[in-house]
């Protein structure tokens, strides 16, 4: 039988000065998941390997690890497929990223719990239960809005590969904001503003870099990135002012008044005169490199047929009121370029 190498991150803070990697050679068995491979290594070669697991069916969220650099549930992916995906004979198994490892693949969950507490991840009813003794009821579209967000199993895959968290551990992170959204957008919940205030503290919500790692990683189609964006939309609707909201407003105004963004006037409009003054060294540098379009300081030019744009934007505001946009249900099946299907693949 074909063999492969399982290269496992090892670290025991009571014994080791620093982490190291240990490699186990195993057969590529039919249908073998990465979790099953970890078990095989533990049972047959080295009982000292530590890892978390429980359901083995991608339901409990305990076994998230990084495989060749990307987080996923060890029980959800097969060894054979991973070897093919990375075109390799070695799978490197590490604890999820951004999180302090406790021992081998087991990581410290406390910091996530502390973050979750800030957004009160439980239902706080808006009103008393219905008098007829039945449950709180909800319009189907209102439910649709939180349907995917409700599926989160707190597995940490998204937190692991989040670029904003990599830069700053104080970011609440996709899992936590997504969980907040699940209640913020719940028509039955009564703590919308408190939760929005919690995620908007220091504009934390807007530290998200839109790298799309969270949505790409999530094994349950929760779409944390999309939930972050929906939270931002709700915050704007609720009248919260933030750098991101101002930024969006500038883009909208520029499309409405000329079509393209006026990058030259952006800093002043974003941060005011004083803020723009802080950007002077940057501006001067850009000027001397020939990257500054002087005409833009006086408004610049409009795109052709710009009259269409105004008409469309005005009308969109009106039509929008009657539209219920459905969420995308599958964010993992790769986009199919329809030219390829036309050519027969």
């Amino acid at each position: 039988m074909e063999k492969f190498k399982l290269k496992v991150f090892r670290y025991d803070p009571t014994k080791d000065d620093k982490p190291y990697y240990q490699t186990y050679e195993l057969p590529v068995e039919k249908g073998m998941t990465v979790l099953a491979a970890l078990f095989k290594a533990k049972e047959e070669q080295d009982p000292s390997i530590s890892f978390r697991y429980n359901c083995r069916a991608a339901i409990c969220g305990s076994c998230a690890v990084r495989i060749n650099g990307h987080a996923t549930l060890a029980c959800k992916v097969q060894v054979k497929h991973m070897l093919e995906k990375y075109n390799t004979d070695t799978l490197v198994i590490e604890p999820t990223g951004n999180i302090k490892p406790l021992k081998d693949l087991v990581y410290d969950m406390d910091w996530v719990v502390d973050k979750l507490k800030k957004i009160q991840p439980w239902f706080i009813p808006k009103e008393e239960p219905p008098a007829d003794g039945k449950e709180y009821r909800q319009d189907p579209y209102d439910h649709h809005k939180i349907d995917f967000a409700s599926d989160c199993i707190l597995c940490n895959s998204c937190m692991s590969d989040c670029n904003a968290l990599k830069a700053n551990k104080d970011f609440l992170g996709p899992m936590v904001i997504s969980k907040a959204y699940r209640f913020i957008a719940d028509s039955r919940d009564g703590a919308k503003r408190e939760r929005l205030e919690a995620v908007l503290k220091d504009f934390n919500l807007e530290w998200c870099v839109r790298c799309m790692e969270c949505t790409t990683r999530c094994p349950k189609e929760v779409q944390p990135y999309e939930n972050i964006i929906r939270t931002r939309i709700i915050a704007a609707e609720e009248g919260f002012k933030s750098p991101g909201e101002i930024h969006a407003e500038i883009f909208e105004q520029d499309i409405y008044s000329r079509g393209l963004l006026n990058e030259m006037l952006l800093p002043m409009r974003q941060e005011g005169l004083l803020g723009a003054a802080k950007r002077a060294p940057f501006g001067i540098r850009m000027f001397f490199k020939g990257k500054v379009n002087i005409a833009d300081f006086f408004g610049g030019h409009k795109v052709k047929r710009h009259d269409e744009v105004k008409k469309i934007m005005d009308k969109a505001k009106e039509v929008k009121k009657n539209i219920k946009i459905r969420l995308v249900s599958d964010v993992h099946t790769p986009y199919e370029d329809n030219r390829k299907s036309k050519q027969g693949g």
Binding site: N68, A167, E206, V209, E249, L260, I312, A316, K320, I323
Partner: protein
Amino acid sequence: MALKYAFYTGCSAKGVAPELYDSTKLVAEKLGMELIELEAATCCGAGAVQEKDEFLSLTINARNLALAEELGLDMLTICNTCTLMLREAKFKLDNDPELKAAVNEVLKEAGLEYKGTIEVTHFLWEVIDAVGLDKIKSMVVRPLREFNIAPFYGCHIIRPPYLTGYEDPDNPSSIERLIEALGGNPVDHDARLACCGFHSFWSAEDKVTLKLTAMDTQAAKKQQADFMVTPCPLCHTQLDAMQPEAEEKIGVNIGMPVLHLPQMIGLAIGLKPKELGLHKHVISTKAIVEKVA
């Protein structure tokens, strides 16, 4: 077959990255790609309008797509975020007839209609698939053999899969294959698939953005890259124009030049550094220019 595209420039190539616009036009012409510029196209919303008013962003991009449909040409972009925003609009409209009808009710106001007949694609993908690496190889007159080149994909050309789909987001190889076709040496580095931080600049410049910019450029430097290359002008602005701020932030000199994808191709197929706008970079490209001379 002649390669002809509706050319969507985006704001950056018309604003802070004029060298991207110029080098794209020059290289496309040499590679036999005819670009019909969509001069009536607007900004794609860049993710900013999208996080305030989703329906508005969809209608704006439905108009952009309809402009390419008028020409009957697929839309070629040169910015990862533009690609993603236009693909997002196309995907949502093509998969939701009610939404498409509502958007068309809006477009009718300007005598336009979105049909869903054209594709949105990126310069990188077309160079590889439509022009072809064999043809590129045959056009190389100045192989980049002494250069160690660090690919920086930029998020929005690989993630999320339902809107990109060109290659595996966890293990892409298009830029490496292109570098090899140009005779260069692709170097593996920790930030190959990382984020430049651009999109949180105004909210988290110090807390997030500049830290990522520093990590990315340092990762390339650690592997002795001569320069980084990116298919996205937003990554370029962040990694090149904001690199001095990132250096200041961490108190370390980095000095990592960053090239736009068409600039790298241009150097290998015999275009001059000056016409490709290499002098318009913030981080000096002098060492590269001297080597290719």
